[in-house]
């Protein structure tokens, strides 16, 4: 018995809808993208199980503290005294600002505590300690 090779004209993948699919993907990425504005300092974050996402991504100010206790806001080095005036200006622009503290796990708590005092002075009361997710609580 001979098996006949079925010869068809040519196999075609329909390409007409590709641009529609790509458009959808494009719109998804456009809406999701938040551009990284600042480089920051090199920090090793501590890990925590209770880590949660911040809901409002677009109103976050990042403060970096590295292992040598250097403070950096928006890629500018800061001393502790200058934090409060700068942050109160930011809070006036957007009172819903959340301060995310990216501190190295080897940093001294004293630096963080002083920073928190300055933030209180600037009325920046919503803070977030950036952490890595560790395992997570079993549901």
């Amino acid at each position: 018995m001979k098996i006949e090779a079925k010869v068809k004209g040519s196999a075609k993948i329909p390409t007409a809808s590709i641009s529609d699919i790509v458009f959808l993907l494009l719109i998804f990425f456009m809406t999701v993208t938040v551009f990284k504005q600042y480089q920051g300092l090199k920090v090793e974050l501590p890990a925590a199980k209770a880590t949660k996402k911040i809901e409002r991504k677009r109103a976050i100010t990042h403060i970096w503290i590295d292992a040598q206790n250097h403070i950096n806001i928006d890629d500018m080095p800061f001393t502790l005294e200058k934090v409060a005036p700068f942050m109160s200006k930011k809070m006036q622009e957007n009172p819903a600002t959340i301060v995310s503290i990216w501190a190295d796990k080897r940093a001294k708590y004293g630096t963080v505590a002083r920073l928190l005092e300055e933030l209180k002075k600037a009325n920046a009361l919503r803070v977030n300690f950036a952490t890595l997710t560790a395992g997570g609580e079993e549901e």
Binding site: P46, K105, V127, A130
Partner: protein
């Protein structure tokens, strides 16, 4: 002098916008956004600080103080407890008194990591109670050290 302006009507067969290259353009844009999107969302332990100059005095029964010393040892009440038991201890105390305010007192010489680990455990204890009762309020206070 009469001038007659003749109107010429340019009637093209049909005006068309070339769409064949649109897919390519959109692909380029897509690749751009794919590359620039950072998919690591901001996450961490959230906390609301008290307004400045407003030290609220609380009665001793309402405060559970958790101390973290410079070596990272944790003291609750009078006892030193290991880190992995802190959440259970806090949870038990919260069940006894749901109005409890947990005050985290950290030595200024302690490392940030030790403080975060303690805060994490306290948060976990509150999370568990929140799971049972969504209206349960998280009351965590970071004590201001004396510099």
């Amino acid at each position: 002098m009469a001038l007659k302006i003749k109107k010429k009507q340019h009637l093209a067969k049909e005006a068309e916008i070339p769409t064949s290259s649109m897919g390519d353009i959109v692909f380029l844009l897509l690749i751009f956004f794919l590359v620039t999107t950072s998919m690591n969302p901001d996450k961490g332990l959230g906390l609301t600080l008290p307004p400045p100059g407003e030290a609220v005095k609380l009665s001793k029964e309402r405060v559970l103080s958790v101390y973290v010393n410079a070596e990272g040892k944790i003291l609750v009440g009078e006892k030193i407890i290991p880190l992995d038991q802190l959440d259970d201890v806090v949870e038990r105390r919260l069940r006894q008194n749901p109005q409890l305010v947990v005050s985290l007192v950290t030595d200024v010489k302690a490392s940030y990591e030790d403080m975060i680990h303690a805060l994490d455990k306290i948060k976990l204890a509150f999370e568990r109670l929140k799971k049972e009762n969504p209206e349960f309020k998280e009351r965590i206070s970071l004590a201001t050290p004396v510099f």
